[in-house]
Each structure stands twice: as structure tokens, then as C-alpha cells.
Symmetry: C2
Subunit: 235 residues, 2 copies
Amino acid sequence: MVKREPVELKLREQVVLKLRELILGGELAAGQRVAEIPISERLGVSRTPVRQALTVLAQEGLLSAAGKRGYVVHAFSAKDITDAIEVRGILEGAAARIATETGISEELRQALEVCIAEGEVIAMKDHYGMADDVRWVEVNGRFHKLIVEASANIALISALALNDKLPFASATAVLGGDTPSRIIARKHHEVVRRAHAEHKKIVEALCSRQGARVESLMQEHARLAEANVTLFRST
Amino acid sequence: MVKREPVELKLREQVVLKLRELILGGELAAGQRVAEIPISERLGVSRTPVRQALTVLAQEGLLSAAGKRGYVVHAFSAKDITDAIEVRGILEGAAARIATETGISEELRQALEVCIAEGEVIAMKDHYGMADDVRWVEVNGRFHKLIVEASANIALISALALNDKLPFASATAVLGGDTPSRIIARKHHEVVRRAHAEHKKIVEALCSRQGARVESLMQEHARLAEANVTLFRST
DNA sequence: CATCCGGCAATTGGATCCAATACTAAAGAA
DNA sequence: TTCTTTAGTATTGGATCCAATTGCCGGATG
């Protein structure tokens, strides 16, 4: 083990992060047994932080208890994924509605406009590449985060945080960006354009205090993630 | 430490349960520092399961990180509580709507009718006592659980499970039942009667596949919990 | 040949140990 | 008197250790 210089993150949190990565990246396949010792050896830490990480991931639902002994990587069905997406729509829709009801601050409005402007640039590109993809994920994530936090409802925010830990349900869920062929990129750009168009409508509804409208727009917007999933699955 | 005979629950889970009890029961006051050693001594276990329990409770939101060092009992504001109740309404409303859309099975309908019948008995009592309270809490919990699980949406179910860990947000949240004076009991009976009346409408809407109606009924129904909270607070 | 029993190995869970870090309090200087 | 520095202490977090349970494999027996 390396000498411990002032570490920012607790070791167990690093392990949680790393394991999430491994699971979502498919390196730990669904259904596969997850034992403490192999993981601890693989990551070069002792079993203690691994054990703690496993309980955290189990709470998040990424792992499930395998009988009395240890965990397995949770196998998510297609229904699980669409369910999670639906829930995200419900929660983000509610967040947007609540935000309109309490009122949109001027700072928030401006921050949203910035997202729109930056999204516009990406959406209108002639050539859509990797870098644009990364940029879009960032802008999109910021946009959603702004709205969710504008609800100022902690229970809502944490419910969404939990939901986002499930695979593919997150607004920022990326396609496995390993080998994005030209065709995939084009399709993806198309999804981005649609998402951006919806973002514009959402901001418009938000700022004109159309609570019911923004709620249903947001719910519908979540369903775009399903397009992402099928796009990914079909490769 | 007691000799370990075949224990059902892992020690860390027992600690989680016990700590939740202590926190919700107010024995660990909001804002109070929670250190590992005092807890482990109090419960007669080593620090290891306590540490794990603390991370679990922190994830649930009952504890919050105190700077770099340890945790404190999270202080919930009145707004936090109404927020959590609102979120519960949103989620349970969605669950009920989804359940109507997918269709109510005959078994489910019957199980709901049983809840209604048992609730009717309690609601119509001339004299409402402790035992009725306990009974109502059980019936009410069963009713809500049936509906939520009828949605068959895991993401929704787990979002609600998280929400229910927050104080007072749960459908089964009881008033601190220590010394329920006669007046409190009467007021409480009134709340129960209203809740029961709403249950009946909810079942009616569910069974006649009125999705939108059942959703808004359920949302409104959640707000009854606020009455409970104010009732409790005013004592 | 199938089944049941016993022992062995793998693995988990808790306790203890140790190092490192953050808080505290006391003492000294401005 | 107050601010700063420093030494001591409390407490956390990770590693290691140990006990106990489980699952498995092989052999014995009906």
C-alpha cells in the first residue's frame, strides 16, 4: 500500500467509486459473485474499506445479497431501467413544478439561459464528435441539477440522488463511449438536438410560471433517456 | 459482550435499528455529536459494527457529517418534514396511478377491501384507545404497502423506502405514544376517521381505473400526515 | 448408484491494534 | 488581554487477527 499522504477522500469512498465504475462499466458482470478478498487484492486495500463499500452499494441497489453469504452484482432488467427512468421523470417533473410555484430567481434564470446558449452551440454543430459529447453531458447535467436544486426540497433531491445511482437512469448517463462509430455519433447528435429543443421549452415554461406544463414537459423529457438506452443496446 | 448464539440479524444491522430508535425517540438529540466509542460502549459492541451503522445512517440522511470528523444527528426543520411528506404524496400518487394503469388484480382488490373493512371497525368505535391506535397503524401500513407494491416499480418502491426513513414522513409514523391524553386520542381518532374515509375513495378510484383521480387523492391523502405532525408538535 | 455424513477450505463478520489527523488547551509573545 | 503556537489528547480510519458459519467435496453406507 502506498504511503498515505493527506488524502481527500476516505478510502472506503474511493472503493465505492471504483466499484461503481467496474459494475456500470460491465467489468463486474451482472449476477457475478462479489467477494471481499478478490476485490481488496485487486484494489490494493484491506478488506475493511471493501466491506464498508459493499454495504453502501447494496443499499444503493447495485449489489444484492446472495443468500446468507456475500453479494452479487444486481442484474437489472429492461423493465427496471425504464421504471427508474419513469421515476426520474416523476421526480424531476415535480421539482420543476415546485420551482415554478416558489418562483425562479433571476440568477437561476440566467444560469439556465447560459445552459441553453451552450447547448445551442453543440446542437447546431455540423460535425458532432467525442469532445462535443463530453461537453453536452456536462451542460445537460448542469441544467438538470439547477432545476432539481431549485425545488429546494431536500427529500426530493435525495430521492433523485438515489435514483441516479441506478444504471442508465441518470440524466447524465452516457453511452458506453468506447467506440462510438460514425453512425452512433450521428444518432446521438440527433438525440442531443431533441433534448436541447426540449430544454428550451422547459425554460420557457419555467419562466412563465406554467407549473403543470413544465411538469409534463419534464416527464416527457426523461423518456429521451429511453432512446439512449435502446441506442446503446442496439450496438 | 453476551455469548454469540446463532444470531438472525447481523450485529451492524442491530446497531442500525437501535440507533434509529434512539434518534427518532429523541434520546440522541438533533445536532448532538455521535462518536463511535460512546455508542459502542452503550450498546456493548465493538467499534466496527458501529462504524458501519453510522455510514448507513448517514446515507439514509439521519446523520450528517460534522466537518471532517464524525457525525451529528441531523436536525430536521419543519420544512424538511413537510417536504418529505410532499414527496411521499408524489411517489405514492404515482404508484397508485401506475397500479391502475397496469390493472388491479383480484387478490389485490380483496386485500384492499380487507383493509377497508378492518379500518371501518376502528373508525366507527365509540371509544378509541391505545390498542385501536396500534391496530390502525398496522392496517394503514398494510394498505399503503399494498398500493405501493402494486406499482411493481422497484425504483419507486426504493425511493419510498428511503423517504420513509425520514422522520414523520412515513405513512406509519406514529405519534410519540407515551402519554396520549384523552384529548389527543380524540383528535387522533378524528384523523383516523378522515384517513379511513380517504382510503375508501382511493380504493373506489383504483378499482374503477380512474388513474388521474387516484393520483390526486393519494397526494392529498399524504397531507394528512401533516395534521399528525402538528398534532404532535402542539403537545 | 444414490444419499447421507463428516471434515476441510473458503469466506464472512466482529474485535482489536496501530497510525494518522483534527481538536483542545495551555503557555508564551505581542 | 488577546492572539498564536505548540504539545497533548481524543477520535477516526484502515489493517490485521480470530472465531464462526457455510458450502463443498469425498468417502462411506444403504
